[in-house]
Amino acid sequence: MRQLQLTKEEEKIFEGEMGDAPKLAIRLLYSLGELGEAERLIPIKSAHISGVSYKNVGEGGIEFLKKMMHKVSVPTSLNPLGFDIENGGPVDIDETFHKKQMEIIGIYQKMGVMDSFTCTPYYFYNEPSFGDHISWAESSAIIYVNSLIGARTNRESGPSALASAIIGKTPDSGLHRDEGRKATVVVNVAEKLDYTRFAALGLFLGPKLNRNIPIIKGQKEAKGIELKALSAALSATSSIPMFHVDGITKETSLVSDSPETINVEKSDIDETISKNSAQEEPELIAIGCPHLSSEELDYIARLVKGKKKVGPDLFLFTSREVKARSLESVKTIENFGGKVFSDTCMVVSPLSNNYSKTGTNSGKATFYLPLKGYGNQKVAFMGILDLLKWVIG
């Protein structure tokens, strides 16, 4: 099944003439090209790499990154890590974790990757345009840029996005072609959803749809941040790379000939929320998975302005750039008694070093945080207004 044709230039890289790292990189792309039945590699405009937190990468990962040490050839942004580099936190880190984490960052810096440390690089740093071929990792960002921006990326893993960043190419398969972007399931949602209920919709649909691309109907007023919540929850619980929303996204004409239909009832969403919510007072309210936009920071600032925090800790997570552009809101939240961290989040930091009960409005965090040996949290999954009731006296 050797269909993928390499150019003469690519053959040379494949044979190792450009060094070991490019050889490893192009061989990985070649194998994945065969998996996706690509006939060629195509140039990409950007890459985004996951696999930054030492909690996720581990020792094996560090050795792999050393083997892949090579300058990237396209603009490449980077996912969050285990702590806020400049300000410290959100939780206590031991010396080994800190050292290993900085070793990973050092390797990426030598490769020429941006210091973005965010899962929402599409707000700043790395903003793709409609139709761009890109090679991105980070499940929540992949599904967001495919769906809301109309850029084209497969569900790259950390290592394959890095391989693409080095080579500057990706296999021409799957989501890079119209055929791979077609909706195969129509999802009717009658009730108008908010941020948290969109996240719940993602948790509900992910295991049901498995890998099928849905077109969602009945949500013509959905906002970008709400669809960001859907993106993260849906892609945590499935391998879905994209969705369409009738009346909102730009490629809704891409639908397969005889799609199946799923009707989502209000009770489906209600049950998803109650099933995922431990009814215990959290020790920590964590918001910002995926990382918050300026709009979201401003919204939270308005809710807490002039008040004093009581009860659990309140941590918000965003990127350095968004934080720098929303300084006033950050100050308001800090005056309230909350903290705003950049570079990291509640999922990729070792949260269980300090906490065991966390409240969040993130469907993605609700999926990962309770897992034994990973997040080890009891999670209270609820809307932002309900979460803030714990901390507003």
């Binding site: 990985l28 194998s31 998996l35 996951s50 937190s53 893993s157």
Partner: protein
């Protein structure tokens, strides 16, 4: 069985079958256990891990690398339908991987041998037998046969025209021979032949090549292998108790998914 080879290497180990999607980040712990779903608390170290496919974090590839570095990795991976995060994990961790193998062919306690280059997967101590099954059509109707009470496999159940492929035979030749033996039908035309599917029956694994044939006559003369026959509308198939995977295979031959 023939699957699709995705990551080179060979493995022979006991199989752990997890009928679930798995996010290697979080749903496989760093000490080699599945942490959620039907396989919760199952150790995968030194086993061939068979699961539906990957989901979730794109960092999941590194989980396999970490398990490999700690010498507690699975020896092989089998998926029904692979996606590239798990495949990447298998490749960089040098763990053999094959997909396009159904999970329901494995039973608890099976020992499996797999080759990640060729895609070959076999279950040790299980006899693999090749079978041809004919879905015979006439004038838009489908022929169903009720298997005799004294048939060694699936007695009394309803299926198509079916028989073991003998040495040197193609599946089509077997289909025609069985059609003649079981129904005295000679004149049928081959309309479609499908990919081999696999059905486990205790110590036997049947690799069944399905095909649709069309005959000009509704006349059927049974031999002793079957006790009754019916010509039915394909839409009525659901109301019959048929041999395993009979209905979904027919739908996939027609180009529809069986939902």
């Amino acid at each position: 069985m023939k699957g699709r080879g995705l990551s080179p290497g060979k493995a022979t180990s006991d199989v752990v079958v997890c009928n679930q999607l798995i996010s290697p980040l979080g749903e496989i712990s760093r000490d080699g256990f599945v942490t959620s779903g039907p396989c919760e608390n199952t150790n995968i170290t030194g086993k061939v891990l068979a699961f539906k496919g990957g989901r979730g974090s794109t960092v999941g590839s590194y989980t396999f690398l970490e398990l490999k570095t700690r010498n507690i990795a699975p020896t092989g991976l089998i998926n029904e339908a692979a996606e590239q995060m798990v495949v990447t994990g298998a490749i960089i961790s040098e763990i053999p991987m094959v997909d396009r193998v159904p999970l329901d062919v494995f039973l608890k306690g099976d020992r499996v041998s797999m080759n990640g280059s060729t895609g070959d997967v076999s279950i040790l101590n299980v006899k693999e037998r090749r079978v041809a099954t004919v879905y015979l059509m006439h004038d838009g109707n489908l022929l169903l046969l009720k298997r005799s009470r004294d048939m060694p496999s699936y007695p009394g159940q309803i299926g198509g025209i079916s028989g073991f492929i003998e040495e040197g035979e193609t599946p089509e030749q077997t289909g025609r021979r069985e059609m003649l033996e079981e129904c005295s039908t000679e004149d049928a035309k081959l309309r479609k032949i499908g990919k081999e599917i696999y059905v486990r029956n205790d110590g036997n694994l049947y690799g069944i090549t399905p095909m649709i044939m069309e005959t000009r006559t509704a006349k059927v003369k049974l031999n002793e292998e079957n006790s009754e026959f019916y010509w039915i509308k394909p839409g009525d198939l659901q109301s019959y108790k048929t041999v395993p995977k009979f209905q979904e295979t027919f739908l996939s031959l027609l180009g529809r998914t069986g939902t």
